[in-house]
């Protein structure tokens, strides 16, 4: 028996053009990308490099202007909106930076919504959604409304919603962008857990630290993929490390922007001095009050 391993995602020369005439901008520039089943891909790059556009095209929220896209063995670059909706429903789970839960529905109904669109009965979808919520660890918040939850809990609920249809692909566009460090860790560990169960995950991030969780890191710049490396779990990816530790060095970009390194460092120093002054002032105040107390005792 011949076993053909088919990639889950295969982008061939995919381009995306926004606007027309003189205002045309190239958001994606001939992207070629193959993602196998079970990969945990981090997509990095500066703002405006086309990361989100790439996610939208891969998640069938947007159509590529040119090129070919095969998702799970089906060519999906030129689908009608209804067909795209069905594939989104059955194959893709979305996690957004701003959570995008429906505020009018409680957490349980939010998580059950993809099942509703699939035509499950109310009892069945409630059961499945409830199970998924306990899997992401917020079973005790089932009947809360999104406005009553913390950021980490909201994103957990959003992950439960993305997972409830058992999708082959999970796309997370800066899932930790609105979270503090505790929430970020919670969410990334949740995603890692899901990945270890065999799901394919694509996520966009600005935080080089988060590449520790990924098995592969893709770098984008001006709509093109400029770097692609596999990275062991637990280590910051090589190029990400550069981004992390080189921020204080003067780059070509800084020159173009007319921002000198001196300005960066100067302003940082100034900030420190101000803080020190404040601290000293406080201390003086304390000392004075102590003196007053001593005097009164005498």
């Amino acid at each position: 028996m011949l076993l053909v391993i088919m990639p889950l995602i295969k982008l061939e020369n995919v381009s995306k053009v926004f606007g027309f005439g003189d205002a045309t901008s190239l958001a994606l520039d001939s992207i070629n990308l193959v993602v196998q089943k079970g990969e945990f891909v981090a997509v990095m790059g500066p703002s405006g490099s086309g990361k989100s556009t790439l996610m939208n095209v891969i998640g069938l929220l947007d159509k590529p202007s040119y090129g070919n896209y095969v998702l799970d063995g089906k060519s999906v670059a030129r689908l009608r909106s209804n067909q795209a909706a069905k594939i989104r429903r059955d194959t893709v789970g979305f996690i957004f930076q701003s959570f995008n839960l429906l505020n009018r529905l409680n957490v349980l109904d939010n998580v059950a919504l993809p099942l509703a669109y699939r035509g499950f009965s109310i009892s069945k979808r409630t059961k499945l959604a409830s199970a998924m919520l306990s899997r992401v660890g917020i079973a005790h918040r089932e009947y809360f409304y999104p406005s009553q939850l913390s950021g980490g809990q909201l994103q957990s609920a959003a992950i439960a919603r993305a997972l409830v249809n058992n999708p082959k692909l999970i796309i997370a566009d800066e899932p930790t962008g609105n979270l503090d460090s505790v929430g970020s860790r919670l969410i990334m560990e949740l995603l890692t857990e899901i990945h270890q169960m065999g799901n394919t995950i694509l996520f966009v991030t600005h935080n080089p630290e988060l590449t520790r969780y990924a098995s592969r890191v893709v770098y984008m710049h001006d709509g093109a993929i400029v770097g692609d490396e596999t990275t062991p779990y637990g280590d910051v990816a090589k190029i990400a490390r550069k981004v992390m530790y080189n921020t204080l060095h003067k780059t070509d970009d800084d020159d173009y922007a007319g921002v000198s390194l001196l300005m960066h460092t100067l302003s940082d120093n100034l900030m420190i001095k101000k803080k020190d002054k404040k601290r000293n002032h406080k201390n003086n105040h304390l000392k004075k009050s102590l003196k007053v107390k001593k005097r009164s005792k005498q």
Binding site: S81, A85, R89, N100, R104, G119, S121
Partner: protein, 414 residues
């Protein structure tokens, strides 16, 4: 679309609509007014028809009714329109005493009961009585129209008893200080009449009779004619048949005799049991059509209101539509969601309209002599109609919502 989805959408739809309930309440006002006016108008029409039918049944099968011919009783019976509505209301012409004599002398007729009205001055203990009219008839009228006597007796056919007057309930109260003014004297056109009977309150049938019997005073037909020198207006003559089985022959004979005495078609002979198209029914149908048209316009305006509020709702919830599409809602499911919301909106308007209609018909029942009849079929029709309005007027906003491109909708800030 499976029922499970519909149920879920119903639930969320109701929740969504409750979140903007004041705006929605004002929006459905048009539907409320439209639905309630449809129900009320049909209920009033139905009520009056039933009252007329009751009266016809009361008059029974062995009577003919002779009326001045109106347009719809002749060849132009189906051409009644808004333009000659007022001709009907003015009730063309009348019968004369000569006609009454013709009817009396026609063979096969055992008894005639004329109904005439004269507008002479009535003076009671409290001075001139202005609200009522004098009805000239005879003893048969009480039995025919089921008038019941509360005190004394009704008119008599005995020629020895003269100058007696029977008072309607309200007339008795207005003309005299006593509760039971039997034996008192009332003056009609200067002539003294003795009060010999007082009637119970009579349920008046709107549009079906020329005078309000509660306000009327009744005297003998012959005396009414002599008071007015044979010029009293005779509105109707009821002719009792000696052989009810020959009703058609007698009617034709009577019609021939009357036509021979007068010009053609001036007088119509109607048998209430077989011919139901009386002029009052025509007026009623016409009014019903007219007000139903107004109600339809009101429903149309209400529907447009719902369309507008749904368009606003779609614009406000663009982001929500984006989320729903991102997690896999098809265009059809988005359309269904918004159409269901619009239908809930208009249906609740329909329900409120039905409640309002019941309340108003209750008030009509309490304070007027109209007896409205609310049919369950009409209520069902009204509720279905309101749902239909929601579906029709909700579909434009719904398709607008479904056409949104998911990525653009997701980027919307609301």
């Amino acid at each position: 679309m499976r029922p499970a989805i519909l149920l879920g959408e119903l639930k969320t739809g109701i929740e969504v609509l409750f979140s903007t309930k004041w705006r929605n309440l004002w929006t459905i006002l048009g539907i409320v007014i439209g639905v309630s006016s449809v129900i009320i108008v049909i209920a009033i029409g139905e009520g009056i028809k039933q009252q007329i039918n009751q009266q016809i049944n009361m008059i029974g099968k062995n009577n003919l009714v002779v009326q001045p011919a109106t347009i719809n009783n002749s060849s132009a019976s189906n051409s009644t329109s808004i333009f000659n509505l007022f001709d009907h209301l003015s009730f063309l012409g009348s019968l004369t005493n000569a006609d009454v004599q013709v009817i009396k002398s026609t063979s096969g007729i055992s008894n005639t009961i004329p109904l005439s009205v004269i507008n002479d001055k009535i003076v009671g203990q409290n001075g001139i009585y202005k609200n009522g009219v004098v009805v000239g008839s005879n003893a048969g009228l009480a039995k025919l129209l089921n008038l019941s006597i509360s005190y004394g007796r009704f008119l008599s056919n005995n020629s020895l008893i003269t100058n007696s007057v029977i008072l309607g309930k309200n007339a008795a109260l207005a003309m005299f200080n006593e509760d039971v003014p039997l034996g008192s004297t009332a003056y009609i056109n200067g002539q003294p009449f003795i009060v010999e009977g007082i009637l119970h309150t009579i349920t008046n049938i709107p549009l079906a009779q020329p005078v309000n019997f509660n306000n009327a005073v009744f005297i003998n037909y012959n005396e009414a004619q002599s008071l007015t020198n044979n010029s009293a207006i005779v509105y109707e003559v009821f002719a009792q048949l000696s052989h009810p089985s020959q009703i058609n022959q007698i009617r034709n004979l009577l019609q021939q005799n009357l036509d021979a005495a007068n010009g053609n078609q001036r007088i119509a002979v109607v048998s209430p049991a077989t011919q139901s198209s009386t002029s009052s029914k025509h007026i009623l149908n016409l009014l019903t059509q007219l007000i139903a048209g107004v109600a339809a316009i009101s429903l149309l305006v209400g529907g447009i209101g719902i369309m507008n509020v749904m368009l606003v709702s779609v614009a406000e919830r663009t982001h929500e539509i984006g989320i729903r599409k991102a997690i896999g809602a098809t265009n059809r499911q988005i359309v269904a969601q918004f159409i269901i919301e619009a239908s809930i909106l208009s249906f609740s308007g329909g329900i409120l309209g039905i409640i309002l209609a019941y309340a108003i018909t209750g008030i009509i029942l309490l304070f007027t002599s109209i007896r409205p009849v609310v049919d369950w079929q009409v209520v069902l029709f009204a509720s279905l109609l309101s749902i239909l309005i929601g579906i029709i007027f909700g579909s434009i906003p719904a398709f607008k919502a479904a056409r949104k491109i998911p990525i653009d909708a997701l980027r919307a800030t609301t």
